[in-house]
């Protein structure tokens, strides 16, 4: 499956979801839905968050797996938290 884009390739504004379809019964739902907060992150950040959850929330294990230092991984997580906080405030 193709990667989900987050920003418009023409004007670089945030994209919204306007149509969802069921792969089983071909039902199509139209509307205007915002992308989930996590999906609004870059692919690298989303992969980081996924890895973090799969590692049981352990920064030490993340650092070991990513072969980076603990403070580097902690700083990356703090940056993602800051991005998500900003996006949540923008959405409200």
């Amino acid at each position: 499956m193709a990667k989900l884009p987050i920003n418009c390739p023409s004007c670089e504004q945030k994209l919204a979801v306007s149509q969802l379809s069921c792969q089983n019964c071909e039902t199509v739902i139209s509307g205007n839905y915002s992308l989930p907060l996590i999906s609004q992150l870059t692919q690298e950040d989303q992969d980081f968050v996924l890895q973090f959850v799969l590692m049981g929330g352990s920064l030490k294990k993340m650092a070991s797996k990513m072969e980076k230092s603990y403070p580097t991984v902690r700083n990356r997580l703090d940056d993602i938290i800051e991005k998500l906080t900003t996006k949540r405030q923008e959405n409200e």
């Binding site: 650092a63 980076k68 230092s69 603990y70 403070p71 580097t72 902690r74 700083n75 703090d78």
Partner: protein, 194 residues
């Protein structure tokens, strides 16, 4: 290669950095004893006629402790999640390039030339100065400047990673911490005067 030389704190765990740093700090201290070097301040290196075996080791212990503590205070002010161990490894690793400067005093080489130039300055009449000596001091000065810059860059990069520093205030606090550490370390070494 660039990462190892200037950004080791992003790549390696604190255990690896600590082990590597302690070994090289002990080696650097031993070389300082062997080549009559004293690290009598966080940013200082002086050569003397004779150095007692424990002096460089204690110098470095005081310097690393002062640097770690004051950088930790600065880092903690910027970010409460700053860990002391990260600033300790920063202080230990950052000083490693500085230890190589003692090699300039193999066979009392730099100390001898410095004494000769001192006599030239203090002499009352016209004294001939050898261009070779001036050249050596110039090269030594360039090396000191280069290695001091490398030391400070490593120190700041370590501080930035440990405290996730961004902007002007952390940079200001960093330099303030280094200056205070220099003053305190010099005073402690002077007070102990072992």
């Amino acid at each position: 290669m660039n990462n190892i030389l200037f950004h080791p704190f992003e790549e390696y765990s604190e255990k690896k950095l600590l082990s590597f740093g302690i070994v090289l700090t002990l080696t650097g201290s031993f070389l300082a004893y062997f080549f009559n070097g004293r690290f009598d301040g966080v940013l200082d290196l002086h050569f003397t006629d004779q150095v007692r075996v424990l002096q460089p080791f204690l110098d470095n212990l005081i310097n690393i402790t002062c640097l770690s503590i004051f950088l930790y205070f600065a880092g903690f002010y910027v970010n409460r999640k700053t860990r002391f161990i990260d600033l300790l490894t920063t202080a230990i690793i950052a000083r490693i390039p500085y230890y190589t400067l003692v090699l300039f005093n193999i066979n009392n080489f730099i100390n001898g030339i410095t004494e000769t130039l001192k006599n030239f300055v203090l002499a009352e009449g016209i004294v001939e100065i050898e261009p070779f000596n001036v050249g050596v001091i110039l090269i030594f000065s360039i090396c000191v400047f280069a290695f001091l810059t490398w030391y400070l860059v490593l120190l700041y990069n370590g501080f930035k990673v440990a405290s996730h520093a961004k902007g002007f205030l952390p940079m200001f606090l960093f330099f303030l911490a280094v200056i205070i550490a220099e003053a305190v370390s010099k005073y402690i070494i002077y007070l102990i005067n072992y």
